[in-house]
């Protein structure tokens, strides 16, 4: 019973990510080891988490497009597999369908949450900051609580039945699932290629493959080489873009700004809960208001003013959480101007928000999902697959180091420099170089993934009698890891042909099963 509760808490923690700044603490790479810890087998948990991470690699949240719920699926899959003493293949076999089911429940919740919008409007109308904040938090807690309940019920009611069911699975199915499980990462990699791979940068993919396959370099080294190449190619060191430091001016210009450094920092902390009340109708609107509500409270003294400001920020809003603080900073500065000057047009605040949210999402989604997540997961998973706990730890650090630093800085830059910063940015070549450079790093790491992170071999032998030669031996001389690479390209090819993801998933499963039954793959 205690175990069930602890595992439920892990799932709840994963879903609490919406309050924790979308810091990827919810990924299987992180939650797997926690489940392992509770069940007394950390190493298994690390390995299962890493394997799930690979399969869900290309599974990312862009805009309002919701991917399978890998939190619920991953936690339950890992837990059932360890509890019944089965291997990674079972964890996979369970996690994939559960994730897809759980995603449907989540979609339902995101539709349902819109019901609260009326309430938010009422509170805004009344200028009731307390109730407004409370509802944002309560509605945000619905997701972790609901999914936690589901996980608990599944464990409580299903664990025994699941064990009986899993014990009935014959050996050949287990073997097939194992081979299929080894093939599934090809889909994750292909999904990444789908958004990153094109003729202009294709050679960096192959460079990544060669470095990993022939030179046997670890993922960290390949990422490092990628960064150096990117710096050289974009001549990064030769350009100087100075973003005169945000924090310096924040408390220096007392006459200009009435917000203290602490209050600006408060925007950053509050922005971590930006996505807590995400819903399909207005997306992150209450999260935006929640993030600067303390600023509004300070700036506006009358109930009418507070009410007007709250209502203003209830408009549709959706952007990348990682770059959100820049917009929040700009909005805070504009609110301040509005509070101070009589003839300021408050409509312009929303105009700027609307103008910025798309572009900021475009930049930060590409940088964070397209590069940083890929590098962090590549490095983390490559270590974790060997059962090394450093893997998940590095994953969190590589991703959140830059994330939190930038998110913090951008709050001050937005507040003190606002649109001037953007103008300077658009005048420089920095953005172009940054996106191009990061695509090089990302693609090199993806290129290294098939040979480093996938293991699909063939037991086929050629010839008869004494003169048999193992096909795998020949392939290894040609290019180690060629089978994973070809599988990845095959999946990518079908993806390009608009074949559905679920169909590809099934296809790889069938290929794995058949390959295992006919002894083509092990």
């Amino acid at each position: 019973m205690i175990t069930n509760i602890l595992i439920t808490l892990i799932a709840v923690f994963g879903h609490l990510e919406d309050f924790l700044g979308t810091t990827l603490l919810s990924r299987p790479l992180v939650l797997g080891p926690l489940v392992g810890l509770v069940l007394g087998d950390v190493t298994q948990g690390i390995i299962m988490g890493a394997t799930l991470e690979l399969i869900f690699m290309g599974n990312i949240k862009v805009g309002a497009a919701i991917p399978p719920d890998v939190i619920t699926g991953g936690v339950l899959g890992t837990a059932f597999a360890i509890m019944s003493g089965k291997g990674t293949s079972i964890a996979l076999g369970l996690a994939v369908p559960i994730s897809i089911l759980a995603e449907m429940i989540l979609s339902g919740l995101f539709i349902f949450r819109a019901v609260f919008n009326k309430k938010f409007e009422q509170y805004a109308e009344a200028g009731d900051i307390q109730k407004f904040q409370r509802l944002h938090i309560i509605s945000g807690l619905l997701k972790p609580l609901l999914m936690g309940l589901i996980v608990f019920l599944a464990l409580f009611l299903g664990a025994d039945a699941m064990k009986v069911f899993l014990d009935m699975i014959p050996l050949w199915v287990n073997d097939g699932l194992k081979v299929a499980g080894n093939m599934l990462p090809a889909l994750g990699f292909a999904l990444l290629m789908h958004v990153m791979f094109n003729k202009k940068v294709a050679h960096y993919f192959f460079l990544g493959f060669i470095l990993s396959s022939y030179l046997k370099l670890p993922m960290i080294a390949i990422g490092g080489i990628g960064i150096i190449i990117a710096l050289v190619i974009t001549k990064f060191t030769e350009q100087n873009f100075d973003s005169d430091d945000g924090d310096e001016t924040a408390d220096g210009d007392e006459a200009m700004s009435s917000l203290s450094k602490k209050e600006v920092r408060g925007i950053f902390y509050r922005s971590l809960a930006l996505e807590a009340n995400f819903n399909f109708e207005t997306c992150q609107n209450t999260g935006f208001a929640f993030s600067i509500i303390h600023v509004l409270k300070k700036l506006y003294k009358t109930k009418e003013d507070i009410s007007a400001a709250l209502k203003r920020h209830l408009q549709f809003f959706n952007t990348s959480p990682y770059g959100s603080t820049l917009i929040l900073g700009v909005a805070a500065a504009m609110e301040e101007q509005n509070a101070k000057t009589k003839d300021f047009n408050p409509e312009s605040i929303n105009a700027v928000k609307v103008g910025l949210m798309g572009p900021i999402a475009g930049i930060f989604d590409s940088l964070f999902w397209g590069t940083l997540k890929v590098v962090a997961a590549g490095v983390g998973a490559s270590l974790a697959l060997q059962g090394n706990i450093i893997g998940p730890v590095l994953f969190i650090i590589i991703y959140n180091g830059p994330h939190l630093w930038l998110r913090y800085k951008l709050t001050f830059i937005g507040y003190t420099q606002g649109n001037r910063f953007l103008q300077r940015l658009s005048g420089s070549k920095l953005m172009d170089n940054l996106t191009f450079g990061s695509s090089i790093v990302g693609l090199m790491v993806v290129g290294a993934m098939p040979s480093l992170l996938m293991s699909v071999n063939t037991p086929i032998e050629i010839g008869t009698g004494d003169s048999t030669v193992a096909l795998q031996g020949i392939l290894d001389q040609l290019a180690p890891g060629i089978i994973p690479l070809l599988l990845t390209f095959l999946t990518y090819f079908f993806l390009k042909k608009n074949v559905k993801v679920t169909l590809l998933l099934l296809g790889l499963l069938v290929l794995g099963f058949l390959g295992s039954m006919f002894h083509i793959f092990i």
């Binding site: 862009v62 805009g63 309002a64 497009a65 999904l191 958004v195 109708e281 798309g358 900021i360 475009g362």
Partner: protein
């Protein structure tokens, strides 16, 4: 060649820059919008969001129609971005090449109803949609390229 005509009221953002552009392999983003074409601030921010190696063209609707019908531009692989059903029907009337329209995102508001996770339409939109359907234009809802195409007539 027009690769995709997309209604998305955030115009260039994550889904566009990060999923559609690479997936379609386009080399030109055309933002067709009367208001944005006049607005230097928006032009600047859209320029920032533009993916590397892609040309960004921001024009009014009328100029966009000229741009798309210009023989010189036929070699470009274009992704057209517009932000309303009204603008979509203007483009369809002006450019015969547009046979299909992707509904990416239209936020909800007064008098609108959600017909999918990310698309809300008004009564007026609904009328325009019926006219477009009668003309034989394909109207499909997808946020990202790997989504399943949902035909709009099944959602109304």
């Amino acid at each position: 060649m027009i690769k995709l005509t997309r209604i998305d009221d955030r115009l260039v953002h994550g889904q566009v820059a990060f999923t559609w552009v690479p997936s379609l392999g386009v080399d030109c983003l055309l933002v067709a919008n009367d208001k944005v074409a006049q607005d230097d601030f928006q032009k600047m921010t859209l320029g920032l969001a533009k993916p590397a190696g892609v040309k960004l063209v921001i024009r009014s609707l009328e100029e966009s129609i000229q741009f798309l019908n210009d023989e010189k531009n036929k070699s470009l692989k274009v992704l057209i971005l517009i932000n309303s059903v009204t603008d979509a029907s203007v483009l369809v009337n002006g450019v015969t090449e547009i046979k299909s329209i992707n509904f990416g995102g239209i936020r909800s508001g007064e008098g609108k109803r959600l017909i999918s996770k990310s698309v809300a339409i008004s009564e007026e939109d609904s009328t325009l949609i019926h006219t477009l359907l009668e003309k034989g234009v394909e109207l499909e809802v997808r946020q990202v390229p790997t989504d399943k195409k949902q035909m709009i007539e099944t959602l109304l």
